[in-house]
Structures are given as C-alpha cells and as structure tokens.
C-alpha cells in the first residue's frame, strides 16, 4: 500500500504502468482511440500544476471532480464484497497498480475536457462555487455529458448498483446523490490533505494515549492491598468528616438562630429507614413481617362496590378492544411488509 511517490518520476511510472496494463489487456482507453500520447500527458501534467497554482478557486472544484471519477473507478475495481484475504491479495496489488494508472488516465483526460469546457465554464464555475454541492454535481454531469466515456458510465452503473445494495442493508438511501457526495468528500480530503498515509508516531513514548497509557493505568490501579485499604480508609474518614461537618453546621445553625422549624410527622414511627432499608429502632423487620402475616387482611377487594366491578369490566373490554385495534393496525403493517406471504 505504498502511496508515497515523488512527482518527478510520474511520467516514467505512467509509461511502465501502461506497458503492464497493456499486457493485462486492461487498457481499454487505447482501444477507443482516445488515448492521449505520452507527450501530451506530460504537458498536461505540467499544465495541471500550473492551472492548480493559478486558479486557486477553481482547483478545489476541479479536484472534487477528479475525485468523483476516481471514486467511480474505485467502485469498478471492487465490485466484490467478501474479500478472501490470501487470494485477493495478489489481485489487490494488481488492482492498485491498475487503479493508479486509470486514475492518471482519467485525470489527464479530464484535464483535456476541462480545457475544452473550461473556457465556457469559468464563469459558471465561479457561480457554482458559491452554490456548493449541488453546483458541483451539475458540473460533473456536464463534463460527463461531454466526455461520454463508456468507462465512466460503467462506473456510474456500478455506483448505482452499490447504492441499491446498501439500501438492502437497511440504510435508507433516497437516491444516488448523497452517495456521490460522500465519495466526493472522501476524495476531497484526499486532495487537500495530501495523499500519503498518516503515520502514528511515538508509539512507546507517549504516556497520554494508547497502549502505553492502558498498561500504565493497569499497573497504577494495582498499588497493593495496603495502599488500597488505606485509600478506602481515607475516603471513609473524609466522608465521615463531611457528614460530621454537615451535622455540626446544622446544629450550629439551630443554636445560632435559637429555633428550627418543627415538621409534623405523619403516622407511626418508622422502623425502617426509607432509603437504605435498614432497620431502625427496636423492632426487627423480620419480626414485623412475621407478625404481619398473622394479621388478618382487612382491606376490601377491588370489587366491593358495584361501580368498581363495572369499571373493571369496562376497563377489561377497553383493553381488549385496544388490543384488537392494535392487532388490526399490526396486520396492516405486516401486510405492507409482506408478512403474510407464505413463501
């Protein structure tokens, strides 16, 4: 996966790749008679650089466009989904080569088209630039039309296919446009951030991130039993102190003002603390429960009054009705989802 390349030897590389591709019979462009000569290619590459420098504003857009083509090519190159590692690997290497080559071709071709179109399009592009995504799409369409490259159309079809496929996975793709935009975006980044692979550095030096951090944390969290116990003791002590502090403050407040609001407490004295469930006072909870068992149930049932009965019945019926309604709704939905098809 070496993508680091100097620009100087580009043309030579292209030559080599071309030969390679010719062997593999992959070079469809030459058959179409659309193949630019190497000189032209060189020129165009140079020109590309100059153009990039000059038309700053335009270049972004243009790159986007190139990237669309590249993305499309990408898709063509990888129609398969389940990659078999070992066997694919060789193929993959090849395809990388091929891809690069194709990209080159595309770029230069593109450039030529650009030259043809650009005169007419410059003003338009400027406008489009401000319009953003939609504009660029239009532009792409335009260039597509002028080019009428069979390859690109093929690629487009492939993109379409992919879209359908991803729809099947369950993500709702309304149409093809967002996907294209995605690709554009990927490649935009590709262009703007230079194409080399970012290398994660200082692997075993940086303590703030990654493996080093985790290992350090692991060891730090195990200081030994004594220290841990000490920490807990400290925590508890400080907690106690805080509690004590609060209590004291309360008392102090009471003492200071001389009086506190007395809150009326309803009912009998509680034997269980509401929050913790611990027993307070003298009666054990278990004993109470035991006692409660023997106490006769005094509360009247829900059907003591006639209206209660009626209500209960009505509720029941309502429930059933609602369930039935729900079922009907469900059937409709299932029908929509073809759940009744026995095949």
């Amino acid at each position: 996966m070496d993508k680091h390349r100097g620009k100087s030897s580009k043309v030579e590389r292209i030559k080599m790749r071309k030969k390679l591709l010719e062997k593999e019979g992959l070079l469809e462009l030459s058959k179409e008679g659309d193949m630019p000569s190497e000189n032209k290619l060189k020129n165009e590459n140079l020109m590309k650089e100059t153009i990039v420098k000059k038309k700053d504003k335009l270049s972004g857009k243009k790159r986007k466009e190139q990237n669309v083509t590249e993305a499309a090519v990408d898709k063509v190159d990888h129609p398969g989904s389940h990659a078999k590692d070992s066997s694919k690997r060789i193929k993959y290497e090849k395809s990388v080569e091929g891809k690069e080559e194709k990209k080159k071709k595309k770029l230069s071709k593109k450039k030529r088209n650009k030259q043809i179109v650009s005169g007419a399009n410059v003003s338009e592009i400027d406008e489009l630039d401000s319009e953003g995504e939609d504009g660029s799409k239009k532009l792409k369409d335009g260039s597509l039309a002028t080019k009428k490259s069979a390859r690109l159309q093929k690629a487009d079809v492939a993109v379409n296919k992919r879209t359908k496929k991803s729809e099947r996975v369950g993500k709702k793709k309304k149409d093809q446009i967002p996907l294209e935009e995605d690709n554009k975006l990927i490649k935009e980044e590709n262009g703007s951030l230079a194409s080399e692979v970012y290398h994660i550095s200082s692997v075993d030096v940086d303590f703030s991130k990654g493996m080093k951090k985790w290992i350090t944390e692991y060891h730090q969290s195990r200081p030994g039993l004594e220290i841990l116990q000490q920490r807990i003791d400290e925590f508890i002590t400080s907690h106690e102190e805080q509690e004590e502090q609060k209590r004291k403050e309360k008392e102090a407040l009471a003492a200071e003002g001389g009086w506190t609001v007395v809150v009326h407490q309803k009912g009998r004295k509680k034997t269980t603390d509401a929050e913790s469930g611990t027993t307070m006072g003298s009666v054990a909870q278990a004993a109470v429960i035991e006692k409660m068992k023997n106490v006769k149930k005094k509360d009247v049932g829900p059907d003591f009054y006639r209206f209660q009965k009626r209500d209960a019945q009505r509720n029941e019926i309502m429930m059933l009705q609602s369930k039935f309604e729900q079922d009907k709704k469900r059937i409709q939905q299932l029908r929509a989802a073809r759940k009744f098809r026995p095949y």
Binding site: D74, H78, S81, H82, A83, D85, K88, Y92, E133, R168, V169, G170, P178, E181, D182, N183, L185, I186, E189, L193, V197, Y198, H199, I200, S202, V203, D204, G210, M211, K212, K213, W214, E217, Y218, R222, L225, L228, Q229, R231, I232, D233, I236, H239, E275, S276, G277, I317, L320, K323, F324, Q326, D327, K328, I331, L334, R335, R338, F340, P342, Y343
Partner: protein, 1077 residues
C-alpha cells in the same frame, strides 16, 4: 374470558384471510383466466397441427428406452383424444408461488397394442409420444422453452413443462405441465392386478416371475388419472370453503419440505383425502357449514389420529356422480377382503381410488407416512396451544430439512453405478430402492438413538436430457435427516447387542457391525455383543455421525468423501476443554472461610453455565503454589470469572462505621465499604491459602487453581429495598450494583437449570455468541440476551422439537433472529413455567406501553435513528419489564442490521447443509464478516490482542482509503516465556488479570467521540473494528459545530489512530459522513 377467546379467534381469522389473499390466485380476474385459456388453447392448436400417421420409433429417445428396458415401442402417431385442463387449477385451488396449470393429454388408444402393459412398453410409448409433442411444440413461436420433468418424481413417467413466451405480471414463472393420460379401457385391468407379473425377463418363466405391483399401479394410475381428477373436481366444484381449506393445507404442507415429497403427500393426494372426508364414505366429516379453518382442522385431525388408515381408505363415488357409478357397476361394488389385505401387506398407506382398481397412495413410504402423521398432530397442537391459533407455527415458519432435523446427512451418488447395478427400473425404480436401503441401514444402526429418520432422494430434472437415459438422473444428493430421541440415549457410548448365548442373533450382529462388534462383559454380569464408540466428553455429539458413517461405508462401499454429515463443521470456532469446570465449582465452596456471614456463593460468569464461547483455561501462574510448568509460552492475560458472595449481615465493625450499625446510605459509600470487605477477604485468602490477590480500587481478583476469580458482594438488605421498588414503579431504571448483581445471579441460576435440561443448549449459545461477536455486534446485544434468545428456541421450539444438535440449533437461532416480529410481540422467556396468566397480562400491558413508547419514538425515528432505544422486549421471571439486558440496545437500526445479517447467514447455512459444498472453508464464511459494510475500519495489531489464538480470521482491507497506520507497541506481549525458575513472583507480576487493550481502546474512543460514530466490534477478539458515522442530528447540535466536526473525517480517523497508539495497525476510510444539505 369469552371476549378474550373471541378476539383471539377474530385476529386469527383476519390473518388467515390475509394469508389466503396472498396465496390464492384471483380466478375472478379476467386477465388471468383469459391468459391461461389462451395459452392452453394455443398449445392445443399447435398439438392438433402435428401431422398424423408419423412413424415413431425408439430413435427419438434411445437412452430412455434402453434404460427402462422396453421392447417393441414403435407406433404410428395419432392426435391425442383430448386435451384438457386438470389439476389444482381446475378446482381453483392453486397455491402461490407454484403457478402451473396441469393439462391432461389423453393418449389415443390406436397407438397401443393390447399387450403393451408388458415390459415397460407403455412407458416407452408414453415417453416417445411426448417427444413428438416436444419436437413440434418447440417450433412454435409462442413457447419460450420446454423442460422435461417427472410425474411425482417417477423417472419412467416423464412430463413436459412448457413455458410460454408471453408472460403475465401476476403469474411469475408460469408454466404448463403436459401430463399424458390414458383411457380406462386401454388395457385389461385384470392383467394389472397386484399379483400379476408384467415384467418378463429373458430367463424367467411362468410362476417364477415375481409380481410387479408398483409397475402395474404406475400404469393404472395413468388410466384412471382423469377419472380420479373428475371425482375430486365434482367434490370441490362450487364449494369455496373447501378450496380455501385445501390452499391452507397446501401452504402448511409446502413449508414442510420433508413431507411434501414424492414418497409422502402432494397436492393431489391432499385434495383426494379432503374429498374423501367430504363424501359419504368418509363419514361426511367435512360438511358445508364448516369454515376453511375448521376444515383444515378436521383434515389434520383425520390424518393425525384416524384409525381408518390401518384398514385402508376407500373412495366411494357419490350417488349423483353418474359416470363413476356406471364404471363401478360394470366392475364390482367394492373390493374384496383378500384384496384389502393384499394392499395392506404391500403398501404402508392404502387409499383405493374411486374405481377400486389401485392404490392412489402407492408411493408412500412408511417413514414418510409416520412423519406426515407426526406433523399433522403437531399442527393440531399448535392451533390449540400457541398464541394466535398457531398462525406463525403452522403457516409461516419453514420446516425444512436443515432446520427440522438434528443431523443432516448427504450422500453424493452422482455417477455411482452401484445404485443401478440391477437395472434402473424393475417393479420399483432403483432410486426408491436405494432410499429404502439407506433408510433401513440407518435405522438398524442407530436403533433407539433416533426418533425419526427420513431419507429422500429428489431427482430434480431441469437439466435432464431424456434422450440420454437415466445415467445422470440421480445427480442430486440423497438427503437423510435424523431426529434425535434424547441426548442421553442418542449420545451413549455403548450399544449392547444380543446375548452371547444367542448364537444366531450374535452372528447377525457381527455381520452388520463387522469389526466394530465385540463381546463384552457388563457390570451386571451379562456377556453380550456390543459396539463401543469411545470419545471425549465434548465429542459425544459426534457419535451419531461416526455410527452412520461407519455403517454406510461398510454396507454401501461409498467413497468417504461422498458422505457429508453435518455435525461438527462449526466446531472450529469453539475451543474445548470444559472438563476442568467440575473441579472449579467444587473448589468454590471452599471460599466459605472469610470474615463474613455469607449466605451463599454464587457463580455469575457465563463460564459456569457452559455458555461462554471460550471457557477460561487454567493458567500456570494462577495457582496457589508453584505447579511445575514446562518451559513454554504462557498467555499474559487472564480472563477472570465472576463470583458473587451473598452476604446477609456484615457484622464486623471494620471502620468508623461501627457506632451506627447502619449500612451506609450513599451508593458510593456502599460500594467503597464493599470493596473494603473484599480487600479484607482477599488479604485473608492470601495469608491463609497462599492465593494471590490482585486488587484495584473497584475489583478484587483472587488467583486460585489456575483461574482468576473476581469477587463481588451482594448485600441482601439493599436488595430488599430494590424488590419493593420493582413492585411499584417501572420508571426507576437506575441500575444499582446490587440490583445488577441480583439479576445476574438470577439469570445465572436460571440458565444453569436450563442447561441441565438441555445439554445441547450450551454449544448452541456458544455458536450464537460467536456469530454475534464475529459480525461485530458485541456492543449491541448483551451476552445474557443471546442466552435468553437461545433459551426461547429450546423452551418454545414450535413448530419443531427442541433442537438436539448444535448446527440445527444455530440455524434456528439465525432464522429466529431474522424473522421475529419484535415490533409487536414481546418475547416471554419462561424457563421454569412460573408465569401465571396474570403475569402474562402484566407483561402484555408493559409490552404495550413499551410498544406505545416505541411507536412514539418511531415517529421521531423518521428524523433520527438514534432516539429509538431498545427495540427488543425480553421478559423473564426476574425481569418482567425487560429492563435488564436490552434497555439501551439494540435500537431499531441495529436490530435491523442484525436481522439482515442473520437472514443472509441463515440462507448461507441452509445451502451449506443441502447443497454439494464440501470444502470446510465455506463453513468458515459464516463467521467472516464483510468489512465493506462500515464507513471506516480500524485494523489492530494481531499480535497484541490479549488472546491471539481466538482470532478466527486475520482481517485485511482491500478497499477504502488508507488513512493512518501505526507500529505495534513493544510494551505488551500476549505471551510471556514461562521458564523462569525461582522467580515465580516476578512472573506473577507479569500476568495481567482482565487486561484487554481492545476494551480500553473502545472506552477511550467512546469517551472522546461521543456522537460522532458508532463502534462495531468483536468482544471475543477480532482484529478489526467497524465505524459507522452517526446521522447528524440537526436539532440538538449547533450547525457550525456540526459542520466543523463532519468536514474532516480523515482528521477524526487520525485522532482515532492516535488514541489507539501502539495498538492500531491501520485505519481505512470507506465512506465519509453525509453532509447536511
């Protein structure tokens, strides 16, 4: 209560209506009927144009004539006597999706001689006649293609499938089946009686010839086909309910591919049985007042439990039916007693046709019929017991070979000349004889280990060229399904044969088993012949495979690679070594010696209930003393197993708490106190037993007997408090540690009980977990939830029996996952049958509210997927409101993705079982996830995974943009060199308990990028992590912030790489997040 029943019936009715609408053909639609009529009449016209008086001889199909062994087949072609629509179309009972119209072509009598019933001459001429028709029809412009097929899988009775050029959108795949018939007076029926022999070999004379009942019946069937078809039509005509019921029965039968077969039931026989039931001879069991559903029920009941099957059914034409009456009068009123006995002796099922000449059910085999009855009684059971009248179970669930049978066996017999060593067709055909042979071998070999064995060999003939004869006819594999009786009997190691004194039986036994048979003396003193299938504990599920392979190899002399027995193909994904657990559980009880009043010690970890994919292995560094380990590489990481200590009273005043005697109130303080106790316990264990204690502020792990135990304390009083809360409010969803522990312990003991009942449960769960993890769903479906889902398959296996093999169980898990209707039905898992109807009601109510919430959130779903939490409702006795495992995930989106994956895996697995794919690599694909379904993929350094041996497949990316790459850290190695004498303590320090860099990485990522992406990963240790971008949420976030975040996916991914520094190998971007437009 009555209301309830009514509404239940109404819903079922509603559903059945819908089902019928889907399955019925719209006979009122003019387009369909005219289309069918036009197509048929155009074919008819074309056949009529075939010139007469053509001389026909064997040259048209030399192979066929040779292989059936017919002589004298020359005839002069005459036009068919009639061409008429018959079959299910004529009684308006076509059940989609099989849309074909049967057309009967009556062969003219002039083409046959009086004695043509001899030696397959009839069959030969029948075929040649079709050849002529095919030859001329294929010239027609209205015909797209013509295929050869067979009548009920009988090779010597071919039929033609004609596909018209013109197609109708409503009738996809429509074709016309041309079936030749003969008039009833073609041959003298007396010559075709059961006892007659009509195949005259060159060397046989007179009485020595064996009778040919099946051959005779095969001819009689053609002669009375139209007659019987007429009988059925008369019954069905103008009786809508009966027709609809037939469709229901067909839908039911078709889902059961093992009974909708040539040696069992088919559409025609079903219609015959139903007309029988509607006739006087059938006791008018079906009358006009019944609804389709009731007719279905009556039919099922009759098939399942009628005693008449033993006697044989007799179709009696009804009074108003004139023609048949005449025929009956001419011949005789009924068949005699002797004849009945004859039929019963010859055929397992007897269904005498309305002309009293032959047995309509002559193709039935005994095992086919047994299965049919079994399925019918099951269907009745579902209607009564299952919710919504068993709609799902009876009509909607596919009960095919791979899902139904515990073991599937495939014999590849392509071009195996042993099959037809004695000719293709004699009285019966060679394929049927072979089926019978395989069946009896398996039955004899497996004895009571099986509940049911089914052997079918379907001869699909789409590519069959009839001219070449039968040599390629058996190209498909022969399938055998084995239903296991019970795990104890089926997986027993020793089979005891006849006693040593019984010489005769002993000889037979030896002959059957060959060298496998041995004389053994048993504990009770008997000496008997026996076979022993020794194997290790975790290989016992393979005994059936070993036996069947041994027998088939021995008796059929097949090459071994032609037998494919589906049993162990997925075992590669599981590691074995469960044996150590018995010891482990016992040792646990020794933990009593701790300064606490402990009410019980309970295991929490899935390893204890045999459901963890990788049960922990003893680690040499985790023993109390130095166990002499050899110099080897030891894993660095130890997976701890969790153990819960249940404490009632914490009586020791440890800290400054002692004065109050109160258990602290604050959650944090409670946990701190608990860890203080745990530390004390750990310390004491360390001092008294020499067990290493490895503690952090939150967890305490002790190393013992090669395992690491993570100790947790459950405080019962806190629990009492929780119980109260569970009762009154469902709204409280804070999972306090005690509640969590309590639920986990409940779950653990429940599943443990289940495992005791179903020994296969464990392996199925393990496969399911492995699958979920392999497809990177680990973060969305809790392990416990998977255990419950699988538990459901065992507790409510309808329409199957509880699975008895891991692959079948796994397949059903996948199918269940792909098809369960989570949206409307809460899944209730009632392991110990302790739900009352009230509980059920409560669950339904809470599920309804759940659903309402769900529906509400569904509305917002249009805008944002993330809002929808918990799309799965799992109710158990300890968790009626489904709060334990699925409250936060999976959400709707995740669940759908899961279902889609399950669907494709299920299909894949079905194909693996049924089709000819032998390479083991194909099986692995089930656990290999395609990485291009994610927006970005992080690849990890394989050699830094804590358990590299658990990695099933190394992942590589072949697409997307390579964004970042990084080197491996040198500070961590998953293995340490074990040979360091005398420096045990140093070694022990190197061992890391519960250290998992992948988990650390994920936690860091989640902390850093909260709403940026979703993470898909494999908790069992794969070297790839998938990322999908979260859908931008316009409402919650400020726009600028969002665009800022989203415009730089590459930057984000580089940061991701940075966070996993030293662990991340490379990061790929496949799809950038979508911009808001």
């Amino acid at each position: 209560m009555e209301n309830n029943v009514n509404s239940k019936e109404e819903t079922t009715d509603l559903k059945l209506r819908e089902l019928l609408k889907q399955a019925q053909l719209d006979y009122d639609s003019a387009t369909i009927t005219t289309f069918v009529n036009n197509t048929v009449s155009s074919i008819k016209d074309f056949i009529d144009k075939i010139p007469e008086n053509l001389k026909v001889n064997a040259k048209l199909a030399p192979g066929f004539i040779r292989d059936i062994g017919a002589d004298k087949v020359e005839f002069t072609f005459k036009k068919p006597k009639s061409i008429e629509i018959g079959g299910s179309y004529s009684i308006q009972a076509i059940a989609k999706p099989d849309i074909s119209v049967d057309v009967f072509i009556r062969l003219p009598k002039e083409c046959f001689h009086e004695k043509d019933y001899l030696n397959h001459r009839y069959h030969g001429k029948r075929c040649l006649y079709l050849c002529i028709i095919k030859k001329y029809l294929s010239l027609s412009s209205g015909v797209k293609k013509i295929e050869w097929s067979t009548f009920q899988n009988e090779g010597r009775k071919p039929v033609l499938n004609v596909y018209p050029v013109q197609e109708l959108g409503e009738l996809p795949g429509f074709f016309i089946r041309l079936i030749p018939t003969a008039i009833s007076s073609l041959f003298n029926v007396a010559k075709l009686k059961l006892t007659r022999s009509n195949l005259h070999g060159p060397n046989q004379e007179g009485d020595a010839r064996p009778a040919t009942p099946r051959y005779n019946t095969s001819i009689l069937e053609d002669m009375f086909l139209e007659h019987n078809s007429e009988f059925v039509r008369n019954c069905f005509n103008g009786w809508r309910e009966l027709g609809e019921a037939l469709i229901l029965v067909k839908v039911w039968a078709r889902h059961r591919s093992s009974i909708y077969a040539h040696d069992c039931i088919n559409g025609f026989l079903l219609s015959v049985i139903m007309s029988y039931l509607a006739s006087k001879s059938g006791g008018n069991r079906i009358n006009k007042s019944l609804k389709p559903m009731q007719i279905f029920r009556v039919t099922m009941d009759f098939i399942a439990s009628s005693k008449l099957w033993d006697k044989g059914l007799l179709l009696q034409p009804q009074g108003q039916y004139n023609i048949s009456k005449e025929v009956a009068d001419q011949e005789k009123k009924s068949i005699s007693k002797e004849e009945r006995t004859q039929y019963r002796q010859l055929f397992p099922v007897v269904l005498i046709d309305s002309s009293f000449h032959f047995n309509l059910a002559f193709r039935f085999t005994r095992n086919g019929f047994l299965e049919l009855r079994d399925e019918a009684s099951l269907a009745l059971n579902f209607i009564d017991k299952c919710k919504e009248g068993g709609f799902e179970e009876v009509y909607m669930t596919k009960v095919d070979f791979p899902a139904k049978y515990d073991y599937c066996l495939r014999l590849n017999l392509r071009e195996n000349d042993k099959v037809y060593a004695s000719g293709y067709c004699s009285d019966d055909e060679c394929w049927r004889t072979y089926e019978e042979k395989v069946y009896s071998l398996l039955e004899q070999g497996l004895t009571d280990r099986t509940k049911l064995i089914r052997v079918t060999w379907r001869n699909s003939s789409s590519e069959w060229k009839i001219e070449e004869g039968f040599s390629k006819f058996g190209a498909d594999a022969l399938l055998a399904g084995i239903l296991v009786s019970s795990c104890e009997t089926s997986f027993r190691v020793v089979d005891i044969g006849p006693d040593a004194e019984n010489k005769e039986e002993g000889l037979k036994f030896r002959k059957f088993w060959g060298e496998k048979a041995e004389l053994r003396r048993f504990k009770d003193g008997t000496i008997a012949e026996s076979t022993v299938w020794e194997c290790r504990q975790w290989e016992r599920h393979l005994i059936i495979k070993r036996i069947s392979e041994y027998i088939l190899l021995r008796h059929l002399s097949l090459p071994k690679e032609n037998i494919v027995h589906v049993a162990d193909q997925l075992d590669f994904s599981l590691l074995n070594g469960v044996g150590a657990f018995e010891v482990l559980s016992k040792r646990l009880r020794n933990l009593d010696d701790i300064p606490l009043k402990i009410s019980s010690v309970q295991p929490l970890d899935s390893a204890f209930r045999f459901t963890s994919v990788y049960p922990p292995e003893p680690h040499p560094m985790a023993y109390e003393k130095d166990v002499g380990h050899k110099s080897q590489l030891l894993p660095t990481c130890i997976q701890p197993v969790e153990v819960m200590i249940q404490a009632r009273h914490l009586t020791i005043g440890l800290f400054s708490l002692e004065g109050s005697g109160n258990w602290p109130v604050d959650d944090v303080v409670i946990e701190k106190t608990k860890s203080a106790f745990l530390l004390k316990i750990g310390e004491s264990l360390q001092n008294t037993w020499g067990m290493t204690c490895n503690a952090t502020g939150n967890d305490v792990d002790v190393l013992m007997s090669g395992y690491a135990f993570r100790l947790r304390i459950l405080h019962e009083r806190g629990l009492g408090m929780l119980k109260k809360q569970v009762g009154n409010s469902q709204t409280r969803r804070i999972s306090s540690t005690d509640k969590e522990l309590f639920i986990r312990s409940q779950h653990s003991s429940m599943i443990n009980g289940l495992h005791g009942r179903y020994p296969i449960y464990g392996p199925v769960v393990r496969l399911a977990k492995r699958w979920i993890a392999s497809h990177l769903f680990s973060s969305y479906l809790a392990d416990e939830a998977i255990e419950l889902l699988v538990a459901h398959l065992f507790l409510k296996p309808q329409p199957f029996y509880a699975p008895c093999s891991r692959i079948t169980g796994f397949l059903r898990f996948l199918r269940f996952l792909s098809s369960y209707d989570w949206m409307f039905t809460p899944l209730v898992i009632d392991i110990n049958n302790d739900f009352t109807s009230e509980d059920e009601k409560e669950i339904t109510v809470s599920a309804i509210t759940f659903n309402e919430n769900f529906m509400l959130s569904r509305k917002s779903y249009e805008e944002n997927v993330q809002n929808v939490e918990s799309a799965m409702f799992l109710a158990t006795s300890y968790d009626k409101a489904s709060e334990a495992w699925t409250i936060f995930s999976p959400n709707l989106y995740e669940l759908r993705r899961l279902a889609a994956y399950a669907r494709s895996s299920a299909e894949y697995l079905t194909n693996l079982i049924l089709k000819n794919q032998i390479e083991s690599q194909k099986w692995e694909c089930l656990f290999r996830t395609p990485l291009n379904n994610y927006d970005a993929v992080i690849l990890l350094h394989r050699d830094l995974l804590p358990f590299p041996q658990r990695l099933l497949f190394p992942s590589e990316m072949t697409q997307g943009r390579h964004v970042a790459q990084g080197d491996a850290s040198r500070d961590f190695h998953p293995y340490v060199l074990g040979n360091m004498k005398g420096r045990i303590n140093e070694m022990k320090n190197k061992v890391m308990v519960n250290f998992d860099p992948a988990r650390c990485f994920l936690n860091d990522l989640k902390g850093e990028f909260q709403n940026t992406f979703k993470l898909w990963y494999d908790s069992l240790g794969a070297d790839a992590i998938g990322l999908t971008w979260d859908k931008p949420n316009s409402k919650k976030r400020v726009r600028e912030e969002e665009t800022e975040e989203h415009q730089d996916p590459i930057g984000i991914l580089r940061d991701v790489g940075e966070i996993g520094k030293g662990f991340v190998r490379s990061v790929y971007l496949l799809k950038a997040p979508r911009l808001k437009t």
